[in-house]
């Protein structure tokens, strides 16, 4: 795609566009009408927040080739900034607080991205790990951030937009869905733009990119800022719409790895990879535990179940990556092509 999806003459809507439209009808029309609270709360809302975080990380790692292990830190910055903004500036509408929270995360990303001008690969990953630890430390040590709550856990403000309450399971799902849709469109516009091309150019050959005139340092910092913005908003969704509390434990190193897994297993450098990966990582454990409960009965020890679950998940991840190192997105592409060939 180029930067002109509307102006470019298109022969007829492609299968991708039709599929996307169908997906939106499903997500906005059918699911809200038929879904249960359990579906919204336990599956869809966390799936959306994780997919958004994966989308943000994919811009940085998948497109620009900059490895980060600090995603949860940027989620935390976004969530805590949005919380503090809505707490201390009560006149601020919630969407504005979340948006500003994302911008604070972008700023943090910009600072965290400075080492990327010197480091790459493994060394860069370690420097983002330092960001992760620093944020965890700050959340524990600076009481002001969590409004001096003794446990460090604070209740998130209710989801009210322009007098409209989204404070029930379906509302929280719809709110998350809208935010994710909007940001996905923006991310799609970004990767289809000349700047998106520059991100990939830097990933694939930094020297050649510099010589053709890509401003390498500026573009890397931009990648960090935009990625952290998206991840920060995902953090706000995670806290406000899913957990309904803001707590450091939601944003630990495990979360960073989880988001990295989402991106790798979904497919680096594709937007739908984040959604496929998030689906895999977020939904599968729930399905597995249900399956386990059904097969083994309720009396089964839940600790063992969780361990078995993790092992199955790990095995599945390895299986997918051996079958298709480019992730689920590529696997799906291939399946789609095969189907198309059979149909033709």
């Amino acid at each position: 795609m180029d930067a002109l999806p509307l102006a470019a003459p298109r022969p007829r809507p492609s299968a991708g566009v039709l599929g996307l439209a169908a997906l939106l009808v499903l997500a906005y029309g059918i699911v809200p009408l038929t879904g249960t609270s359990y579906l919204f709360e336990a599956l869809l809302t966390p799936f959306l927040a994780l997919a958004l975080a994966g989308l943000g990380l994919n811009l940085l790692t998948g497109y620009a080739g900059l490895l980060s292990l600090g995603s949860a830190a940027f989620m935390a910055v976004g969530a805590y900034a949005a919380f503090n903004l809505s707490l201390r500036l009560p006149f601020l509408p919630l969407p504005a607080a979340i948006l500003l929270g994302g911008l604070v995360a972008a700023l943090a990303g910009l600072v965290a991205g400075l080492p990327a001008l010197r480091l790459r690969g493994f060394y860069l990953a370690v420097s983002t790990l330092a960001v992760q630890f620093f944020v965890a430390w700050a959340l524990n040590r600076i009481g002001w951030i969590s409004n001096d709550s003794p446990s460090g856990i604070i209740t998130a403000p209710g989801l009210v937009v322009a007098g409209l309450s989204f404070d029930d399971p379906r509302g929280r799902y719809l709110f998350s869905l809208s935010v994710v849709t909007l940001l996905t469109v923006l991310a799609w516009r970004l990767v289809a733009s000349p700047t998106g091309r520059n991100l990939v150019a830097i990933r694939d050959n930094e020297t050649a990119a510099r010589l053709v005139g890509v401003k390498v340092a500026r573009t890397k910092l931009l990648a960090f800022a935009v990625s952290s913005f998206v991840i920060g908003i995902a953090g706000a969704l995670w806290a406000f719409a899913y957990l309904r509390t803001v707590e450091p434990a939601g944003f630990n190193l495990d979360r960073s790895f989880q988001i990295l897994f989402i991106v790798i297993i979904g497919g680096l450098g594709t937007l739908r990879g984040a959604f496929l990966g998030a689906g895999f990582i977020a939904v599968l454990p729930l399905l597995l535990s249900r399956l386990g409960a059904a097969v083994l009965g309720d009396g089964f020890d839940s600790g063992t179940l969780e361990m078995v679950q993790r092992m199955v998940l790990g095995a599945l991840i390895v299986a997918v990556l051996i079958r298709e190192p480019a992730g689920l997105a590529a696997l799906l592409d291939r399946a789609g092509r095969r189907l198309g060939r059979r149909a033709a």
């Binding site: 102006a7 091309r197 990939v200 694939d204 390498v216």
Partner: protein
């Protein structure tokens, strides 16, 4: 690295008896060369450029001048320092002595990030494509320096950004068409056969209409047919844009057919500069190539 260079610097012309045609090129008679031999008309002028890696001299005291519309071949055995010279001209290596003049500006170290803005483009001996981008996007990326629209304008699709994107797309399509890459324009560049990848790299360099084009072995590893095509593309590039072209090439036949002037490097030293015929007849060159040039010339004549 300094000690290794000092002897070179102290005796620039005296160490090795240089053949007559190896005098400073700017002072050479125009015979057979480009009409633009005066400094004002030069697109590229390399003056006394030296580079060593630790104790290894990549090249030393190199002088080379290329005018607009000139195809200037740089030849020499493996390890002669040809690629290093181009890397120094494009700012990837920092030479220890000498200057590089590009147009009106002189540099002790060429700023790599400004190269495209200076009107310089290059290809690499070992491919340096953006493997994950399509052929079209690779060619488009050659216009990165010409982009003016900001990120916001691009994302929102503001008129200025759309006009620019359209103009760039047209320029890229024209190059893709000229190089016969239309059929593979949407394929990821990294999945193409080697010969086509080389062509994509040329396209990425050509799309910005550079004043100076540096080609590091654009035909290496190609079949005879591919070489003939590539020769045609390079000649056409000179014809249409009037670019000055520096061409590193091992195939002496191609060099003789294509270039206006030839500079010969051996062990990092310039041993000859002149027209293809002059260089071919040069005893120092023949010695450097151990008679290879001779045989090639015979093959040419046959």
């Amino acid at each position: 690295m300094q000690p290794a260079l000092r002897p070179v610097r102290s005796g620039p012309e005296g160490r090795r008896p240089l053949p007559r045609s190896a005098a400073r090129p700017a002072a050479l008679p125009v015979a057979g060369g480009s009409p633009h031999r005066d400094r004002a008309g030069l697109v590229l002028s390399i003056e006394g450029l030296s580079l060593a890696f630790g104790g290894t001299v990549a090249f030393a005291e190199i002088d080379l001048a290329v005018g607009a519309g000139e195809i200037h071949a740089v030849i020499g055995p493996n390890g002669a320092g040809k690629s290093s010279l181009i890397n120094a001209v494009t700012g990837l290596y920092a030479p220890q002595a000498g200057r590089v003049r590009i147009g009106a500006e002189a540099f002790a170290r060429v700023p790599a990030g400004r190269l495209a803005a200076l009107g310089v483009a290059r290809t690499f001996q070992n491919l340096a494509l953006f493997a994950g981008l399509s052929v079209r996007d690779n060619v488009l990326s050659g216009l990165a320096a010409a982009r003016r629209a900001g990120l916001g304008a691009q994302i929102l699709g503001l008129p200025a950004a759309r006009r620019e994107a359209l103009a760039h797309r047209d320029a890229a399509e024209a190059v893709i068409g000229r190089l016969g890459l239309g059929a593979v324009a949407d394929r990821p560049a990294g999945r193409l056969p080697y010969g086509l990848q080389k062509r994509v790299e040329l396209g990425r360099a050509l799309v910005a209409r550079p004043r100076l084009l540096l080609l590091d072995e654009p035909m290496a590893g190609m079949t005879a047919t591919e070489k003939a095509e590539m020769t045609g593309f390079i000649r056409a590039a000179r014809e249409t844009s009037g670019a000055a072209i520096v061409l590193i090439e091992h195939d002496i036949g191609v060099v003789m057919r294509l270039s206006d002037r030839v500079t010969v490097l051996d062990h990092g030293r310039r041993i000859a500069t002149g027209t293809p015929a002059q260089v071919q007849a040069d005893p120092a060159v023949i010695a450097a190539y151990l008679g290879l040039a001779d045989e090639d010339a015979d093959a040419e004549a046959a």
